[in-house]
Amino acid sequence: MNGNTLTMAGIGKSFSGVRALQGVDFTVAGGEVHALLGANGAGKSTLMKILSGAYETDEGEIRINGERLDIRSPSDAKRAGIHCVYQEVDTSLIAHLSVAENIMLDRLASPKGSAWLRWGNLHREAGEALARVGSRIPTRKRADELTLAEKQIVLLARLLVEEAKFVILDEPTAPLSLEEAERLFGIMNGLKKAGIGIVFISHRLPEVTRVSDRITVMRDGRVVLSEPAAGMQAGDIVRAMLGRSFEEEFPKTDAPIGDTLLEVKGLTAGHRVKGVDLTVREGEVVAVVGLVGAGKTELSRLLFGADPADQGEVALEGRKVASAAPADAVRSGIVLVPEERRKEGIFVGSSVLHNLSLPILKSLARFSFISGPGERRHAEDMIGRLGIKTPSPGQLTGFLSGGNQQKVAIGKWMSTDAKVFLFDEPTKGVDVGAKRDIFRIIGELARQGKGIVYLTCEFAEALGLADRILVMCDGRIVKQFARGEATQEDLLLYASAGREDLK
């Protein structure tokens, strides 16, 4: 150990008046793996963004070996030896350059040193760095020919060259297979031996308890637990993560459940969705819960025909759905309210009126000419029914609040003959009032005999709203609960355990 110690003390941060962090203390020693855990929105990524210089802290201080640091930008953090490996490795690599150039990037970019490149030395030094993390990736390979795991290794080798003292690994194992994750843990061990302090963020609890020396859990912007990893149980961690957070009130409206509407068998696409089976019946709300990156969004896009599936069948009322494009899914009666609302759900540059009528132009038009009064009546009716707060139907949708934009994204499907509604994280970035409206709309749809698939990472919502809950982890449905059977703890445990622990 080299005895470096990084201390964050009394860190506080607010975003437009909302406290994201409050009095957070966090310490990493050189040569230790310190796991940082917390549910979505607990504040762990805000804390790490402050450490890596993406945000400036409002209060508190950061010290290395007792010396105060002033981190105002990512380059300040790097100069102090604090590096971050983000989950999206591609943003940190230059695709058309070789592995060696990518590893030595800082050296190449630095204004110091020789103006001439010495290719021999470059490749030799890069190769040495790779050897230190136990890898033998050819240094002349282009970065875009690497697998995801290899790209991570390249970034870790770069850390050695840049003489990092502290490293933040932001969910590095999420996109990896089990063997690849094992290899990564080996490399982390190597970094530890080199005296580097590692902040390890992960949602997979078993691996966290195994590879970490110390575990810190955050909730609602505070540290709620910080203890040596030895002897900690997954159950303790889950309880600390959830706390006794109040159960929000979710008005579940009872709807009679009828025949099977949607039947999905063995749906597979790439690494993100692996053989998903799913049935939804008339009037039933099926929640698919999982952590961020579990494959929920990918599943919803497959069901809607937005992405092509490798394998598997989707049948609606017993008839096979040929989902080559969303237009086919819409025609057969499956619609999606996508997660990326502003990019995919609505047209921010168009009026509420035009947004609401796009999928039903056919029924509003005669001989292809749209009936102006008809379109207006439809929009006004929908605005009233869903409680969309807009000064007029002609208002640009981009000027509405997040919740009202979401209602527009839902409202455009309300007048279609859709039978199955897919909701992907519909409450993301939505205020409480609009949230309640959205739940009311979903209840209303269920009463009309529609089938609902509700994909979310908010476990409390799933517990309140769903007739049945499916837990998704690593692209698979790992567990099913009927209404009232599960607690938040159960859901989190299955969502973070992964498959290997269920057998």
């Binding site: 809607f304 937005a306 494009a325 969303p326 237009a327 899914a329 819409v330 025609r331 619609v335 999606l336 996508p338 990019k343 995919e344 759900g345 609505i346 047209f347 921010v348 540059g349 168009s350 035009h354 009528s357 796009l358 999928p359 132009l361 056919k362 509003l364 038009a365 292809s368 000419f369 749209i370 102006g372 455009k412």
Partner: protein, 328 residues
């Protein structure tokens, strides 16, 4: 206050500018603001307007079509040769160039929508191909009545007088090309404003992914937009032949930039900020007024380009300053 001024100049700037230009030219030359001169202006921009409508349609789905100019050239010489070389009936003389325009559009759509070459690059390549075809076809010569071939023989045909009437005739005192132009502008405006496919086209241009996820068949929409662009360029080519009475080589070359300029001036009309038919028409009118007026001022034709460019810069500056303010 400052904000209000920018808002106002964005909305009505282009129209006020045209009005000022009209007043200026009228005061300078009493002949300028007469019925016959105004009709001359409209007639002079009728071909440009057709091409510009096509460019507006392709830009509406976020696709730049650089091939319209050479499509005009190709259809111009095709129209002329069909009469002068082959003495075809009038129907074919008009239908064949339209088909050619549609085919060029289909080729563009194939390269952009299917092969996924970026629009500018694909249509640049097609521009070269089409331009090469039209020169190869005529061996680099313009096509005129009873033209003499290289081997000394003469072409058998002449321009059909009915055909020439399309470009040169008058109906109730209004030049026929002007009537065609007005019909096309109104038709295209109605299409975008009141029809289902028009709405889907606008929405696809607004956000292609959101349109796709709303069940719009975006590939079909984008394909038709390029085809429409080619067909409107072809109409421009036909009108060109009818107007000048011969098939000029490279007739469409200046059309590309003039039409694109008209469309971008149109961005600033009524604060649209996006391609729109009425704006395009206003842009074309502004071009026509400027050229006509400047010619009366005895400004040389090569100097007018400087003024056209300056006007375009002005319109674009107003548009984009406004758009970037709106975002923040």
């Amino acid at each position: 206050m400052n904000h209000k001024i920018s808002q106002f100049s964005f909305k009505y700037g282009a129209l006020i500018f045209i009005a000022l230009v009209l007043v200026f030219f009228s005061l300078y030359n009493e002949y300028f603001f007469t019925y016959s001169n105004l009709m001359d202006i409209l007639r002079s921009i009728s071909i440009l307007t057709f091409v510009a409508i096509g460019v507006t349609i392709s830009l509406t789905v976020d696709g730049f079509d650089l091939s319209v100019g050479s499509t005009v050239s190709l259809t111009t010489v095709t129209t002329a040769t069909m009469m002068i070389w082959y003495q075809m009936p009038l129907v074919l003389v008009i239908v064949v160039p339209l088909v050619i325009g549609a085919l060029v559009g289909l080729l563009n759509a194939f390269l952009i929508v299917k092969v996924r070459i970026p629009d500018l690059l694909a249509t640049l390549a097609v521009m070269y191909i089409v331009s090469g075809i039209h020169k190869t076809y005529t061996k680099g010569y313009s096509v005129y009545n009873n033209m003499q071939f290289q081997d000394g023989t003469k072409a058998p045909g002449v321009m059909n007088p009915h055909f020439l009437w399309i470009g040169q005739g008058k109906l109730l005192g209004v030049p026929f090309p002007v009537i065609l132009m007005i019909v096309a502008v109104i038709g295209a405006h109605i299409f975008f404003k009141y029809t289902r496919q028009g709405r889907q086209t606008t929405m696809t241009g607004g956000n292609e992914e959101a349109a796709r996820l709303s069940g719009v068949r975006v590939k079909r929409i984008r394909t038709w937009a390029y085809v429409a662009s080619g067909v409107f360029a072809a109409i421009g080519g036909i009108l060109y032949t009818a107007r000048v009475g011969s098939g000029q080589i490279d007739a469409g070359a200046p059309m590309l930039m003039d039409s694109v300029a008209a469309v971008f001036v149109g961005y600033s009309v009524f604060g649209a900020g996006r391609p729109n038919i009425i704006g395009t028409f206003v842009g074309a009118v502004l071009t026509g007024v400027l050229i006509n007026g400047l010619t009366m001022l005895h400004v040389q034709y090569y100097t007018t380009d400087i003024i056209k460019g300056a006007v375009l810069v002005l319109a674009l500056a107003v548009t984009f300053i406004h758009l970037s303010r709106k975002k923040t």
